[in-house]
Structures are given as C-alpha cells and as structure tokens.
C-alpha cells in the first residue's frame, strides 16, 4: 500500500483505478471564477483562475494538509473536490469520477464525503436548534427513522464530546468551540469516509483550537477517516497531517510528507512560510539566516492576472529570466517529495544566489 504522497506530474494512465491506494485522486483540477463586467468596451466577462492544474492524492485514513495564504485557492480546492463549485479536471473518489455528477448520484455520494466549514456561526442555521441541525443530513439521506433519528443525533453529539443537553439550544447560545463541534457532529452524522476541514480552527480561540484538533485526530483514529485539512496555520497542520501540500496563487508549489516539508523544505515560498511561524519562546527565535521573501515583496502579485512563468516570481529572491518565462512543473525531488521550482537544486545545496534588485 502506497503511503507516500502519491503525486503524479502527469495524468494517470487511463485504466481501472486500483481502488486501494488512494481514496481521493485529484488531477488537473482548475477552478475559474468569472464575473460580469459593467463595461461597454465589448469585454463583458472577466475570468480569473483560483486554482490551476492542481494534482494530488489523499491515501485512505491519512490527512493531507493544504496550506497557503489567503487567496491561494485552498478553499476553492476543497469546494471543487466536493463538487460544490464548477471545476475542470478530474476528481476521483474511491475510483469514481465526481466532477460532473449531479442529482441523486451526487447526493448519495455526499453521505461519504462531508465538509466542516471555517466559521460555525455562518455554517449553522441560526434558526435551528442543534437537534434539528444534526437531524438534517440524517433525514435527508434516510439514515435512521423514528426514534432512531434522535438516538443517532445523541450518538454523534457524544462522539464530539458534547452533552445531549445542547440539543435544544440554538447556535448563538453555544460557545465557538461547541458550535464547531456541532458542525463536526453534523458532518459525522452520515458516517462519511472523507471530510474536508476548511480552516476549522481559525475562527476559534487559541485555547479551544487544540481541543478541536485533538478531537478531530481522535475521531480520525476511531472512525478511520480520511481528511483534507485546509489551514494557514502551519503549527496545527504539522500536528494533524502526514502529508502536506503548499499552495501559492492557485498552484501547488510543494508537496511531500510532513517531516520532509518541515525539516527539508525546498520551495522558497514554503521556506518563507515556515520562517514566519512565530516561536513560543522569543529568546529561541533566531533571525532567519537567509531571506526567502524579497524585501520589497507585497501581496500585490496575488491580485494580478497570471501571465506566465513561475507564480512566485514577484516575491521570490531567486527569480531568474527562466522563472519569468517558463512555469516550473511540480517535479519529484525525493521519494514522495515534489517541488515546483527551477532552482531547487541550487536551493538544496545552498548555492542559490539572490537576484533581488536585478529586476
């Protein structure tokens, strides 16, 4: 059984999926948002890639951490995988192609793949009691009937360590942590195999974040869940994920096992991200030995339309002409570790020269 980050740079061979290696296979996933323009120069639509040609696998019972800054396309990837927004490419869940599915087939499949959202205040209907919220998926999929429904509600609330007394409460009467537990309980109600967790800790108090993360990891161990854990918090991702994919501007720029990424990151963006993680002890915090982010870097590049070349070229201190012309492909650097960077070998050996100021 392949436990490595099963990455393929190119499309998989058109064969029957083995069905054992990975629960989720994402190939050439692209998400484009189009908006109508109120202009009269003939151009009526403007489209922008939120996700462009993303490939990764999530092996069964494992967690893939998807990290990147705001606007990098993490959430779009999560929504596209669950077929909640229009996307191009291929998403195979347990061997079955999901993109393009609709109606009863897709609804049926949704019992197996669920999502927990960033802000439970938004994702829970304020006019429903907790009981009703958790009952919704159970009734929609006829998972239980009669008194069995309430028994199941109590059971899933129990799984997320919530007292059944909360059943008659409204979301605004709960704490942030309790609300997120309710959202997790709702996702668990259909006994899914796979859950997309979209920034599930970012709206929570720091003291509660750890509780929710620990709960999620316990649930994963108990129920054999496969997770896509989207977060910008590298500390939490490290705790949760065996595999990590780093996204920048709609592209996966580095993908590998957690230890590889944290101990031996290669992409300049990943390095910059890791250096930005604050240390709990300021005395231990060392000044970075090398800058992996240009001194004049801004996030402005994120808002412009991609016009070829490496997505990180505007913020990378090592940008060369090649980087501006040719987009680097995600290529294997070590077993299970891939990086999309032209200068990866120089960066690995520490011989990459800064080109800052040349442009």
């Amino acid at each position: 059984m392949a436990m490595s980050a099963g990455l393929q740079g190119e499309a998989p061979s058109d064969g029957v999926s083995s069905g054992t290696a990975s629960l989720l296979e994402v190939r050439h996933l692209s998400v484009t948002y189009t908006r109508r323009l109120a202009r009269n120069d003939g151009q009526t639509r403007e489209s922008r890639h939120a996700v462009r040609d993303v490939n990764f696998d999530v092996p069964r019972r494992e967690t893939l951490g998807l990290v990147g800054e705001s606007g990098s396309g993490k959430t779009s990837v999560g929504l596209a995988i669950l077929n909640l927004i229009a996307a191009a490419g291929s998403v195979r869940f347990d061997g079955q192609e999901i993109l393009g599915l609709h109606g009863a087939t897709m609804r049926q499949l949704r019992t197996r793949m669920q999502m927990v959202f960033q802000d439970p205040t938004a994702s829970l209907d304020p006019r429903m009691t907790v009981r009703r919220i958790v009952r919704m998926p159970i009734k929609a999929h006829r998972i239980a009937t009669g008194t069995g429904i309430d028994d199941l509600v109590a059971e899933v609330l129990n799984k997320v360590s919530l007292d059944t007394a909360v059943m008659s409460r409204y979301p605004h009467q709960l704490s942030g942590g309790q609300r997120q537990r309710v959202a997790i309980a709702r996702a668990l109600a259909t006994a899914p195999d796979f859950i997309v967790c979209d920034e599930i800790t970012s709206s929570l108090d720091v003291s509660v974040q750890a509780q929710v993360v620990n709960l999620l990891m316990d649930l994963q161990a108990d129920l054999g869940l496969t997770l896509l854990f989207i977060s910008h918090n590298l500390g939490i991702v490290r705790q949760v994920s065996g595999l990590i994919a780093v996204m920048y501007y709609g592209r996966v720029v580095e993908l590998g096992q957690s230890e590889q990424i944290y101990a031996n990151s290669l992409h300049p963006y990943t390095k910059a991200l890791l250096e930005a993680v604050p240390s709990p002890d300021p005395a231990l915090e060392t000044r970075p030995t090398r800058a992996y982010l240009r001194a004049d870097a801004t996030t402005a590049g994120l808002h412009k339309v991609w016009s070829g070349g490496c997505v990180y070229q505007d913020r990378c201190p090592f940008t060369t002409d090649l980087c501006r012309r040719v987009e680097p492909e995600l290529g294997a650097s070590a077993a299970g570790h891939s990086v999309a960077c032209h200068r990866v070998d120089e960066i690995r050996t520490g011989t990459a020269e800064c080109t800052e100021g040349d442009s």
Binding site: L79, L82, L84, M106, R107, Q108, R110, T111, Q114, M115, F117, Q118, D119, A122, S123, L124, D125, P126, R127, M128, M136, P137, A140, H141, Y170, H172, A183, R186, A187, A189, T190
Partner: protein, 279 residues
Amino acid sequence: MKTHVSAIRQRMPSLSACILIVIGILVAIAAIYPRAFTSGNPNAIDPNAILAGPSLRHLLGTDEAGADIYTRIIYGTRLDAEISLFSVGIAYAVGVPLGLLAGWWRGALDEILSRLSAGILAFPIVLLALLIVGSFGTSAPTLIAILALAFLPQVTLLARAQTMAVCARGYVLAARATGLRERRIITVHVLHNITPQLLVLSPQLMSQAILIEASLSYLGVGIQPPAITWGSLLLDASNYYQQDPLYAISTGLVVTIAAALLLVAGDLISRWADPLRRR
C-alpha cells in the same frame, strides 16, 4: 426547573404585544360580528339629530343624515379588514414564491421579474387605481385586485433580496455539502430565514391598504355607498368638518391608529420571530 420557566418566558409575548393581540381580537370581532359593540343600525337615520354632537345615544355624534357615527365606524371595520387582509394575502401568495425562485435561480426569470416589478412600482398607485376602476367599476374585489397588484412588486423584491442574502450565508452551502435536496434547502433554510423580514412588511402593507382605500374613497373611486368603509366615512366627514369637527377627527383617528398599530405589530412580529433578538 428554572430553565423551564425562562424558556416559557422567552416565548411569552411582551406587554405591548399582549395589548396589540387584544386589540387585534377586538377588531376581528368588530369585523365578524359588529353587533357585539353596537346595537344600532349603521343606516338608521335620525332626522332630529343631524350632525349632532356626542351624546349618550350617539357616542360620537351623528352624520349628515343623522346616522350614528360610532356604529358606522364599527360596521366599516369589516370591509377594511377584508380589503387589507385579502390584498396583502394575495400579494404574498404570489410574490413570495416568485421572489424565492428569482433569488435562488437568478438568470432570465430574475431579470424579467425585476424589470416587471420596477415597472409596476414606477406607476403611481392611485393613478393605476383610477385607470382600473374607470374600466371595471368599483367593487371590493376590484379594489383588492388593485392593491394586490400594487403590493406584489414590493413583496417579490423583498423575498428576492432576502433570498439572495440568505443564499450567500454559510449554512446554505453547508446544507448543499451535507446532501440536502434543493427543494428542502429552499423550504427549510431559505424560507425559514426570510420569514421574519417578510412578516415585518405585511402589517405595513395592510396599513397602506387602509390608507389607500381611504384616499380612493376620498377621490370618489373607492367603495360606493351603501357599503361602509373608513375611507368613505372620511370622505363624508370632510364635507362637514366645520359644522362637526368631531366627525372628521374621530374617523380620521380610527384610520391613523389602525395604520400605526399595524406598523408596531410588524416590528413586534419580527422581534418575536428572530431567536437572536428574542430576549
């Protein structure tokens, strides 16, 4: 036990709501069974007391034909209640589903409905009423139809806007992610969440209905005698406001108070329907 008591108190209407409910019941009784409030006949004429002031026999005095004003106001309640209830009811029955679908599906349906609504809204209601009355004549059903048509765009646009706002909320996406049918999402999540906002508008529209009915009656294109509405009373009273100011003041106050109470009712309804605003 304590939580039980507080739960009941949460659901208990406030004092102002209680007063409004009592008034509402009284008005309903007056509309359905006016004899409960007066033993007189609204069309009984007393030639010896024309435009008489208040007395024990005639609490609010008499009108130009010697009929009891109080009795006529009570008997006028029924038509006003019918007109306001039915016109608003029809506008809601048609407008809410249209607005929901337009807000949910968007696209061409939304485009057409929005333009149509704007078109109707741009048309002065009294002018519209004059046109329709001119061609179909006055009757309560005609008036109800006119008012329903006038209220329809307001209800449709409100339902549409609220639907669009609710659709952007996380719980609608979450409901889709859990695998709910679209129909369920619309009825359970969307309709449920736009109900308070829709309810706020209904008493406002009813008060508008009463005021518009009064304006049309005043212009002479409202309900015709011998049917009695508050508006028609106001028209009669306006001719004699110098001889008998109380005649005009009492009928005018009835219309004003009814409209005002309906506005207060709208606010109370929204507060009651919203768990976040409920104390």
